[in-house]
């Protein structure tokens, strides 16, 4: 089961890379809902630069990291817009996966570790079994085949109550 989860994650990641790396070039370049609301009262030219009037967006200041090599979803020094946007998207997806996935991986409950008192006490929503009270068998040295067998039998008993 765990291997199949990683397989799914791999496929999903490929989809994300495709979206950020290629499809992103066909995204609308109009200001989004927030920006356009803040531009209300101003006149703008074809490049969405303010040409007159008065609006909240005029107070906007430079980003702290406007000189970042990846600022504004492009890569500094890459001339082709297509490549610049696409590559920055690819970097962003991989970076987000690494940062997010890494943090979540470190935060996770280590159920199969086999130490009894790892019970994650608070069921967050009360709608799923969260008992992680350690395996009843205690003998699964790195067995990847089927995490479901790791689940204590209590889980099954609690299942159909919802």
């Amino acid at each position: 089961m765990r291997k199949r989860t990683w397989g799914f994650v791999g496929v999903g990641l490929l989809a994300a890379l495709l979206l950020a790396g290629v499809v992103s070039n066909y995204a609308s370049s109009h200001p989004d809902g927030l920006d356009s609301s803040l531009l209300k009262g101003c006149t703008v030219n074809a490049d969405h630069e303010i040409t007159g009037g008065s609006c909240p967006a005029q107070q906007a200041r430079e980003h702290e990291l406007a000189d970042s090599p990846l600022a504004d979803y492009g890569i500094k020094g890459v001339d082709s817009d297509f490549l610049s946007t696409g590559l920055s998207g690819v970097v962003g997806v991989l970076l987000t996966f690494a940062v997010g996935g890494g943090a979540f991986w470190l935060l996770r409950r280590r159920t199969p570790a086999g130490d009894g008192p790892t019970t994650a006490a608070g069921p967050t929503t009360g709608d799923r079994p969260t008992t992680a009270a350690g395996p009843t068998t205690g003998d699964e040295p790195g067995n990847d085949r089927d995490t479901d067998t790791d689940r204590p039998a209590v889980d099954a008993g609690r299942g159909p109550t919802g």
Binding site: A16, N25, D47, A60, S68, A120
Partner: protein, 239 residues
């Protein structure tokens, strides 16, 4: 193609208010981390990384809405709440916003607390409350799941947009001459339309995952456990 600042920029909200929301967001995210630990296991952790990466990708895809010259993009709170639950979901959106602010120069670093409050916290919370409600009252079918995803996504976007209006009322740097209602209205209408796009993307994505790997959809867990026709009766295999 070159504009693409999608979140609150520096200077739009004053420093003190931004700082207060920064502290608020930090406290709330800490709470989310504590609650998320109960959900995060060997299966959910990689899935949560994927959800964050996927939201980053789809946020780049600004789509036109029906009013001229305005676009919208996914916020992702409802999608994350459906796939990985509210606590981990809020953290997923926050990770995306942090990466965008620190690496892509999108959304001021000083404004990060404001952006996180609106999109990661308010958006996800509103979405999850609706998800919990709708999954209870709607039929347990793909159509029911689709409607849940669509409605919760749409509403969460409008709620997030009004979070910004509240922040602007507290610390906006331009005197609107008492016309805050105008800003609220403009934001609401634009984000109602964006919410339709958000709803379609969310419903499509969640239905796809539910079809391929229903066990990876957090919001379906309790439902499936409660369903009478579950095939595997032992050892928590239904999950």
């Amino acid at each position: 193609m070159q504009t693409l600042a999608m979140h609150i920029s520096n200077g739009i909200i004053n420093g003190p208010v931004a700082a207060v929301f920064g502290a608020l967001a930090l406290a709330a995210l800490t709470f989310c981390v504590l609650r998320a630990r109960a959900d995060l296991d060997d299966r959910l952790a990689p899935m949560a990384g994927l959800v964050a990466a996927f939201i980053f990708a789809v946020q780049m895809l600004n789509f036109p809405i029906f009013t001229a010259g305005v676009s919208g993009h996914l916020l992702g709170g409802a999608l994350a709440a459906l796939l990985v639950g509210p606590w981990v979901g809020a953290l997923c959106v926050a990770v995306v916003l942090v990466v965008q602010a620190l690496v892509f120069g999108d959304g001021g670093v000083a404004m990060l607390g404001l952006n996180i409050t609106n999109m990661a916290l308010l958006g996800t919370a509103a979405a999850y409350l609706l998800i919990a409600l709708l999954l209870r009252v709607l039929p347990r079918t793909r159509a029911g799941l689709a409607v849940t995803a669509f409605v919760s996504a749409l509403v969460s976007v409008v709620v997030a947009s009004q979070g910004f209006v509240l922040q602007y009322a507290l610390g906006g740097t331009t005197d609107l001459g008492g016309n805050l209602a105008g800003l609220a209205g403009t934001m609401a209408v634009a984000h109602l339309l964006i919410g339709i796009g958000e709803g379609l993307i969310t419903a499509t994505t969640v239905l796809t995952v539910a079809k391929v790997r229903p066990d990876l959809v957090y919001a379906l867990r309790s439902r499936r456990a409660a369903a009478p026709a579950v095939a595997v009766p032992v050892a928590g295999g239904v999950r």
